[in-house]
Amino acid sequence: MAATDTTAERGGAPAARGFNPVAWALAPERRGGLLVAPAIITLFVMNIFPLMWSLGLSFFNYRANRLTVPDFVWFRNFERVLTDDDVWERFQTTAIVVGSSVALQLVIGFALALLFAKSFPGRRILLMLVLTPMMLSFVAVGVFFKLFYEPTFGLVSQAVAIFTGEPFVVLSTPTGALIGIIVADAWMWSPFVMLLVLAGLVSVPKYLYEAAEIDRANWWRRFRTITFPYIKGLLLLAVLFRTIETFKLFDIVYLITQGGPGSSTETIAVYVYRMAFQYFRTSQASALAYIVLFVVIVLTSLYLYAVRRTSEAR
C-alpha cells in the first residue's frame, strides 16, 4: 500500500477502498494525539497511577508487613497523622531546614552570579569548578560532609580545634546537626540558583546600563531600576524550585545524621520513609505523604499567584 503515506501526508480523506487504520492514525488532525500519547502514557503509569493508588492506600489501614486484608478506614489515617505531635515536630524541623537553606542559597547564588556575569579570562573553567557541587551525588556529599564534621578527623573539627583547642563535634547537638545539614544542602545547590540568576543578568539589554551610565546613576540605583526587575521572576522561580526540592530532602539527612541526634534533624521525608519501610505503617505513610503533597501544591499556587501579580503590575 505504497499510496498510503502520500494520502496521509496530503491530509486528504482515505481512498475509497476502505478504512485504513495507518492513514487514520497519521492524519494531521490526530497527529497531536499520536505525538503526545507516549509521554502521557508513561507519565500516567509512572506518576498519576501511583498517585491515585497512594491516595487510595491512605484510606485504608494497610500494613505492608502483614497479610491481613486491610479495612477501609476513611480519614482516620489523616486524622492520626495530623494530630501526631511527632509529625508537627518534623514539619517544624523541615521548615527550619528549608527556610535557612533556601535563604542561604539565594544569597550565595546571587553573589556568585554577580561574580560570573562579566566575561574574564578563565571564566569557563572557574565556572565549572563552582558548578561541581551540583554534579555530585547526594551520597557523596552526605558521606563526605559527614567526614568533614567528624570530631577527630574531620576538617571542620580540626579547623575549629586550632582556635579552641578542643575537638569540635558538629553533629552532637541538634542545632549543630541542623546547621551541618543546612550548610551541606546550601553548598550543593547554590550553583543552581546562580545559573538562574546569571541567565537573568545576561538578558538585560545593554543599552539600559548605558543609559544609566549617561544618567550617572550609582550602583544601587542601577540595581534597583534595571537589574532587579529583570531577575525578579527568576529569583522567584529559583525559590520555588529549591523550596520544593528541599522539602523533599531525604538523602542528605539520612546519610549525615540519620535524623539524629535523636530525631532532631528528621525531616518529613525521612519520617515518611521510616514509617513506610521501617515501621511498615504503609497507609499512614501514604496519608502523610499526601499531606506533604498538599503543602507543596499550596506553595506552588502561592508562587504562581505571586508571578501573576508581578506581571500584572507591569
Binding site: A211, D215, R216, A217, I226, F228
Partner: protein, 375 residues
Amino acid sequence: MTAAMSETTAAGAAASEIRIEKLTKRFGNLVAVDAVDLTIGAGEVMCLLGPSGCGKTTTLRMVAGLEFATEGAIWLGGRRVDHLPARQRNVAMSFQFYALYASISVADNLAYPLHAEGLGRAEIERRVKRVAEILQLDRIMDRLPDQLSEGEKQRVAVGRSIVRDPTCFLFDEPLSRLDVQLREQMRGEIKEVLSGLAKPSVIVTHDQLEALSMADRIAVMQAGIIEQVATPHEIFARPENVFVAGFIGTPQMNLIPATVTGREGRRLRLDVAGQAIGVEAGARAEGIADGASVTLGVRPRAFALTDETEDSLVARVDIVEPMGAETLLHLIEGDQDLRVVVPRTVRPSPGEQVRIRHAPDQAHLFDETGRRVSA
C-alpha cells in the same frame, strides 16, 4: 561691561562646543571610524548622516563615552574628555530604543538623571514639570513605559535629556521607530526644543529627510570617513563627491558615466553613451583633458522632456510611476538607466522614445576619482 559680556560670551561659546580631532576607532582589523575631524558650535544641530556601517553611531558613542577612542581627541566645552568614562562627561543621550527604565513611572524616568546632581526634591520636581509641559507629557506622568505609545516613549527619552544641563545633546536615530506621520510631527518639535537650548547637539540618522530638515549642518559619512560637512542646502546643491551626490536627494540623482570629447571655453563636450551633449564646467575642470572619464550628475527634477536636439539625450521609456502631483519616469538608453521627474500632466507611454534636457545650471560634474569639478 560690554567687553566683559562679549568675553564671557566668547568664552561661553568655546565652553559649549564639541571638538573632535583625528578620532579613530578600530575593532581588531576593522577601522570603523577613520581620523574624523569635526567641530560643532554652541546651539548648533549637527547631523551625522550615512548608510549603516558608516561609523556614525560609533562616532556618537565615542563622544558620549560609551566607547573609548583608539586614537584621537575629544573636547567637550573646552575640556578634553576622551579618557573619561561617560558618567564624568556630563552628556545627555537619547537612545534608538529609548532605553526607558521599565520599572518606574514617566515622572521618575524624567527625574532619574537629576539625582546625580545633588538637587533638592523641590528643584527636581520643578524641572521635571517644566520638561513635561514642553513635551506635553503632563497627562502620562504616572504611567509606566510599557503603557506608552511609541511617540510618547520617544518624547520621554528626549525629555530625560533636556531635563539636565549637560555639555551637549546626543541622539541616536531618534525617529527611526516612528511611523511617517509621527516622524514629521516630531521633527518639528525636536528642532524647536533644540533651538531653545544653547548647547551643541548631534543627531545620528540614516534618513536624509530627517537630516535635511533638522540639521544646521550635515556630516555625510561613509566607511568611517566624513565625505562632506556642510549646510543642508550646500549638501544638496553642491555635493562634493559622487557618494554624497548619490546619497542625498530622492529620487536618487542620475550619475551618468561620460567621456570628455572637447572643450569650448567653460563648456565641456561630453560623450554620453554615444550621444553628445555640452555641460557647463567650473574652474576646477581646467585640468581635465580630452578623453578623460567623468561622471555627470543630474537630479531627476533637473531633467525636462524637450523637443530640442541640442544638448539633449534620447532614451526609451521603460516604466511610468505616478507619484501624485508628479510622475517618475524610468528611462533606458543602452545600459544606462535614467530617472526623470515630470509634472503629472506629462504622460508618455512605455516604449516611447523621448528627449530629455538638463537645466543648464543644475548639472554636476565629477572627475574620475569622484571629486566635484563643476562650479
